[in-house]
Amino acid sequence: MRNSYVDKVVISGVGESEIGLVKDKSGLDLCTDAALSAIANAGLNVKDIDGLLTSYCSTEPYFVFYGALAEYLGLELDYGVTMTAGGGTAGMMINAAAMAIASGVANNVLIVAGENRASAMGSAKTTQMLTAFSHPLYEGNGISVPAFYGMAAQRYLYENNLDRSHLAPIAVQSRANAARTPNAHKKAPITVEDVLNSRPIVEPLHLLDCCLISDGAGALIVSRREKEKDLIEPPVYLAGIGEKFTHEHLIAAPDIVRPGSKAAANKAYKMAGLTPSHIEFAELYDCFTITPAILTEELGFSKEGRGWDLWSDGRAGIDGKFPINTHGGMLSHCHAGAAGGLLSVIECIRQVRGTQGDRQVPKHDIGLAHTEGGIMSNHTTMIFTSAPL
């Protein structure tokens, strides 16, 4: 008989703001829209929320963003904090929420991430911000987050005797999945040739290998398990979760292309009592096409060096053999700060619920979501199920 803190919780509600270029809303507005949408989706009143976890919001001046959002929503909290772990913040907020509920500190923890990065910052400021990830004393000479992923991609292709055309189908399939998702930022179809011919950014990665810069926010509520009987939508259960941090700067990583994702996943599988073969679909962090290619291998869906092959012949499509990033991921659905990762978790919840109509994955009892932050620095693997395990 398993006994884990995740047995004490249920995912009660999810929501998102308008996504894309949303010129008339601030970061706080987008987070508010997402939060209220999730509260309604859970059938809760704002006053039922006693825990709040937010990510950073790069486009707002608040040093304590969770406090600003809590006050704006009229919340009184028994537990709340702003968490900052880059794109990996989403998964870590879910783990923290589950621990807070299991330990009795809170009953309904609202998780929110989002900002109007496209409208308020745009491409130039966003790219400049990404240089802050390189160490100012030891790496700060024209190097930014994309360059590190470019180096990871170069090494991956070298080790496995591949070229960038092997990664292109990941961008193409993500766009095709986004085209079936009402709120996605980019829906116009693209081809492998489009990806290969897009302008180079940090070789071997070209523009269409890179995630979007969007406005958008997501929200999710983790509640005490007893709430499951009161929910409007089908309850979704957190069967397993695992985190792993290995490095901040890529020179300190144990391996350029094999980070802590495998260790995070193995903890989640062990907690759930499941193996990779049980997973029916996956929502994987995709800041660049190289990222989900590596993750599919690290998470056990593919042999080492063959992860990219899961995207061939439409297999990662919504109706495919193993659907991946069914909403289009950060490559095509939305990337706005830590919201990109959270929206992939939200998509996982929606698909496990089985409520997605003509964009519903056929097998949806066991879904996996994985978020990461920094330069493959921190990882969280989450396994969600339609029934308690």
């Binding site: 790219t127 024209g142 360059a147 470019g150 302008r199 070789e203 990665l205 020179i251």
Partner: protein, 135 residues
């Protein structure tokens, strides 16, 4: 691509002074012999905080690289395209920097490099760069 290293404190200042003297300073663990870069107080391999400084030989190989075609900020636009690499120093640690020299754009994984420490007109050291060693 010269970029100065600001005066710092503690371990980082020791490293910067090493560059002033023409060496890349690495740390070597007294307990387990692990060698690391960049300067930190604790051995990443065994957790010991007893170490000695050693000077890197200045040779290594390219572990990976990227040709940057889109500048991360305006100040780097005129340098485009340029090559950023992670190299494995002969002593073991990995180090990030740009590749200098006329043939930088032809860099390949596995290429041997030497580390160079550029200086400005007043003799202050900049971030180390790598030059390919052509056989």
């Amino acid at each position: 691509m010269y970029r100065s290293i600001p005066k710092s404190t503690g371990l980082s200042e020791h490293y910067r002074r090493g560059l002033e003297a023409g060496t890349v300073q690495l740390q070597s663990c007294t307990a387990c012999s692990h060698i690391w870069h960049y300067p930190r107080p604790v051995c990443p391999a065994c957790g010991s905080n007893n170490f000695s400084w050693i000077a890197a030989s200045g040779s290594g190989t390219i572990a990976s690289y990227t040709i940057v075609r889109h500048a991360p900020s305006a100040e780097f636009k005129e340098s485009l395209p340029y090559v950023v690499a992670m190299v494995d120093l002969t002593e073991g640690p990995r180090m990030t920097g740009t590749i200098t020299g006329a043939n930088a754009l032809e860099s390949q994984i596995g290429d041997r490099i030497s580390v160079e420490i550029p200086k400005d007109s007043s003799g202050l050291p900049g971030m180390p760069v790598f030059r390919r060693i052509l056989d």
